[in-house]
């Protein structure tokens, strides 16, 4: 069954906001777990969340992580906000 986008968005935003104090970056698999979905299904939702700029991507070059847009040190430290 396809995931409901709005419902999924609420789940992700709630969970990530709750954790924001201690953790600002999440692996893709963490998001799939929050959605309780198969990776391929979760990916559709996550892509859309990035597109709508709810989430943003961080990359070390080799690893990618997701976080709520503007949360965490990176953005302000690098004058990218």
């Amino acid at each position: 069954m396809a995931l409901d986008y709005e419902e999924s968005k609420t789940k992700i935003v709630e969970k990530l906001t709750k954790k924001a104090k201690t953790k600002s970056k999440f692996y893709f698999s963490d998001l799939a777990k929050i959605l309780e979905a198969k990776p391929r299904e979760a990916k559709k939702v996550v892509n859309k969340l990035v597109e709508e700029q709810v989430l943003e991507l961080w990359s070390s070059g080799s690893t990618s992580m997701y976080g709520l847009k503007g949360i965490g040190k990176q953005a302000s430290a690098e004058q990218e906000d």
Partner: protein, 437 residues
């Protein structure tokens, strides 16, 4: 007069080798002189500052680059790697120094005007410093500011019909050998398959959702010019399943010295007369060649397609006619667990458009790895952790002799109950009739 004193870097120019320090100084001087009157979009002294920050790192024995970043172009999760200097006041030219990966044309096959266009774009909107080519194969643009990313991406895609490559936890830019375009050893169209899969898996290439990086590389034959067997999570290596073609007359021409071995690659020195026994037959790893009544014989069922004999005598020996490719999986460099070479998964498959059988293997592997792979675990590590047998199960491939590296290495292949006729139940009374306690 250089902007920063760089005594330690200067020392690197003193050896007999070409030096990247000399290259950087040359580019710094060129940028300062600005012979083409460019309206530089990032600081003119970016290259000076690169030299300066590197000298400082040598002095401190520590890097002055921060790790990673959130920058990218809209709609893509890869292709741009954020890099920031942690001493931006001292080195404003490299306060931002983002890398962009440009998906190289198939087989790195392009003309000088293409290259000139990319370099002009990069002189204008970036540092002018490139890396041709990165280990993944990409054309690498080293160093630009965040504001320039979308501008560069627009020009690349709209003017030069050129995409960004992969970075981060996604499918990396697929790389291939020159294949049938120039090479008579190519057993399949490497550029065809590379391009097809690049198009097919755009989403995997640009939007990261894998546990870690994933690489495809395509070699047209076991000579492995792009070293797929050592560097790719999935290596596609050309092979054949019939016989090596032999032109006995040409064999005689090699023996008689009319043809030079290895296409005269070693012709700059006199190595003495060609000795087919010593240089070909005795070096065949499977010992499947011999001379009989002046004819070269090959026991093809023993041949493991090492390519040696064909490389030595290309005019006399040909790859077979029934061609396709082998798929190997799990190669990687040593971050966790040490380096690993690819393991053979599919001994032979025909490589023909639309490549459905190949895509089925790929997608089965991805489903498994995306579900079961730990964060930052490469496919090769998952295969080791859950076992080759597990991979066979998820891909629906039957175990076969080609999967066995050597006998008795690991004899423990376990049967499942549904694979055994009659299951694991037995009639104990029937059994006791024949076996005493």
């Amino acid at each position: 007069m250089a902007k920063h004193e760089t005594p330690m870097l200067d020392q690197l120019e003193s050896g007999p080798w070409p030096s990247f320090v000399s290259d950087l100084k040359q580019e710094a001087a060129n940028r300062a002189a600005n012979p083409n009157n460019l309206e530089y979009q990032i600081p003119v002294d970016v290259v000076e500052d690169i030299l300066g920050v590197l000298e400082l790192s040598f002095k401190h024995g520590r890097t002055h680059w921060k790790h990673g970043g959130i920058v990218g172009v809209f709609g893509y999760g890869g292709g741009v790697i954020g890099r920031y200097c942690d001493q931006p006041e001292m080195f404003p030219g490299v306060a931002h120094f983002h890398t962009m990966r440009v998906n190289q044309p198939g087989a790195k096959f392009y003309k000088t005007d293409f290259l000139r266009n990319l370099c002009d774009l990069w002189d204008l909107r970036g540092s002018g410093i490139t890396n041709m080519h990165g280990s993944t194969g990409d054309i690498i643009f080293l160093g630009t500011r965040t504001e320039q990313l979308e501008e560069i991406f627009y020009d690349l895609t709209h003017k030069y019909n050129q995409d960004l490559g992969g970075s981060g936890s996604n499918l990396r830019t697929p790389a291939d050998c020159i294949g049938q375009a120039r090479c008579e050893y190519a057993c399949y169209d490497t550029q065809g398959l590379c391009y097809h899969l690049t198009q097919e898996y755009q989403d995997e290439l640009h939007r990261p959702a894998f546990p870690y990086k994933f690489k495809f590389k395509f070699d047209g034959c076991p000579n492995c010019c792009v070293a797929s067997i050592a560097r790719a999570d999935m290596s596609f290596i050309g092979t054949w399943r019939d016989n090596i073609g032999i032109d006995q007359e040409a064999v005689q021409a090699y023996i008689g010295g009319e043809l030079n071995p290895n296409a005269n690659d070693h012709g700059d020195r006199d190595w003495g007369a060609f000795d087919i026994q010593k240089e070909v037959i005795d070096l065949c790893p499977t010992e499947c060649m011999w001379m009989e009544d002046g004819k070269l014989m090959i026991d093809d069922k023993e041949c493991n397609r090492c390519m040696h004999c064909i490389n030595v005598m290309p005019r006399a020996l040909r790859i077979g006619q029934d061609r396709g490719l082998s798929i190997l999986v799990g190669a990687k460099a040593p971050i966790l667990d040490g380096a690993q070479m690819g393991s053979l998964l599919v001994p032979f498959v025909k490589a023909e458009d639309p490549y459905d059988e190949i895509k089925e293997v790929i997608e089965n592997l991805w489903d498994w790895w995306m579900e079961e792979g730990k964060n930052r675990e490469r496919l090769g590590e998952l295969i080791k952790r859950q076992g080759f047998q597990k991979m066979l199960e998820v891909t629906g491939i039957k175990p076969m002799v080609q999967h066995v590296q050597e006998p008795r290495h690991n004899p423990y292949i376990f049967w499942k109950e549904d694979e055994v006729e009659g299951g694991f139940d037995r009639d104990i009374n029937e059994f006791r009739k024949h076996h005493q306690r």
